[in-house]
């Protein structure tokens, strides 16, 4: 169990992290991928697209195409209303959840 703690933790929150990023502004694939890979949340852009597919299937994210100044048309991802509600829900739960975990796991000098 010890080695894949990180993997299990990330698995539970990565979708909410995507929603959290899109709440700031609509983003295109590479933008999102760079941010999430940079924070160690996903391993590569290959991980991102199945996640985005799932979020779209659940109606939490939608897309639109936009021409950039430099020319290439980019597909942008944005939050839907349902996505915004889902993110708010997660935010409400996250702080109490991490507080509870911190209490339960203790530190090196409290729980044996």
């Amino acid at each position: 169990m010890s080695a894949d703690v990180g993997a299990q933790l990330r698995k539970g929150v990565v979708e909410s992290c995507v929603l959290g990023q899109l709440a700031l502004q609509p983003m295109y694939g590479w933008q999102l991928s760079e941010m999430l890979v940079g924070h160690g949340m996903i391993a590569s852009i290959g991980t991102l697209y199945p996640i985005l597919s799932r979020l779209r299937a659940q109606g939490l994210v939608s897309t639109y195409d936009e021409e950039s100044a430099a020319g290439p048309v980019r597909k942008y991802y944005e939050l839907t209303e349902a996505g915004t509600r889902q993110l708010d829900n997660f935010r409400d739960q996250w702080i109490p959840f991490t507080a509870a975990v911190r209490t339960l796991i203790g530190t090196d000098d409290t729980n044996a």
Binding site: G6, Y28, A43, G46, I51, P72
Partner: protein
């Protein structure tokens, strides 16, 4: 259609990516390739090289995408060991093994030596095992299937045209023998492709 100003490295990278993503669903493959193409579009050779280095090895992208789609199917079981740690760690570790490591080796070896145990049928069984394996792409499997046939046809045509024989065997017999032995070379090639797929690419 790639326009003539697209750098060669971009064209090659996208082609590699398509190939590596074969094990995934057509929809996921399309999305990933479209997303990557969008990012590389309009970049000159130097910028494309840099972005490609940042994107990473196509095999790694495919492995992480596969891990994500497979773990989604197993979702709901937080204790499931199916999320391979190697690909959820943010490091280009070895590609996810999708089947027991011994399976592709047994498949390739059966394909190579099957005919010496049970003539023709042994090789066909080995070939079937190769097709069922997740280690090789469809293109590689097709090559393995068609190559012995090609050897037979080419060998047969050569013998017909030139009437060549060897040590008492006429050309046609020779072509048949070569076709039967060709799985040895093809099987070795399959093993080499499998090994390449399992070994992490150098950064």
């Amino acid at each position: 259609m790639p326009d003539p100003s697209t750098p060669g490295i971009t064209v090659a990278y996208l082609a590699q990516l398509e190939e590596s993503l074969r094990p995934l669903s057509a929809e996921t493959r399309r999305e990933i390739v479209a997303g990557v193409r969008e990012e590389l579009q309009g970049l000159n050779d130097g910028d494309a090289r840099q972005r490609i280095a940042e994107l990473g090895d196509p095999e790694f992208i495919a492995a992480t995408a596969l891990a994500e789609t497979e773990s989604d199917r197993g979702a709901g079981d937080p204790t499931s060991a199916r999320v391979p740690l190697a690909v959820t760690e943010a490091s280009p570790a070895a590609a996810t093994p999708r089947e027991p490591g011994w399976y592709p080796v047994v498949a390739a070896v059966t394909f190579m030596f099957g005919s010496f145990v049970v003539p023709v049928f042994g090789t066909i069984v080995g070939l079937g095992a190769v097709w069922f394996s997740k280690t090789w792409t469809r293109t590689e499997k097709l090559i393995a299937t068609l190559a012995p046939v090609a050897v037979l046809v080419v060998g047969g045509l050569v013998s017909l045209v030139s009437g060549v024989g060897l040590g008492g065997l006429n050309g046609w017999h020779l072509a048949v023998i070569l076709a039967i032995c060709s799985p040895l070379a093809i099987g070795a090639w399959l093993l080499w492709r499998a090994k390449r797929r399992w070994t992490p690419a150098k950064a």
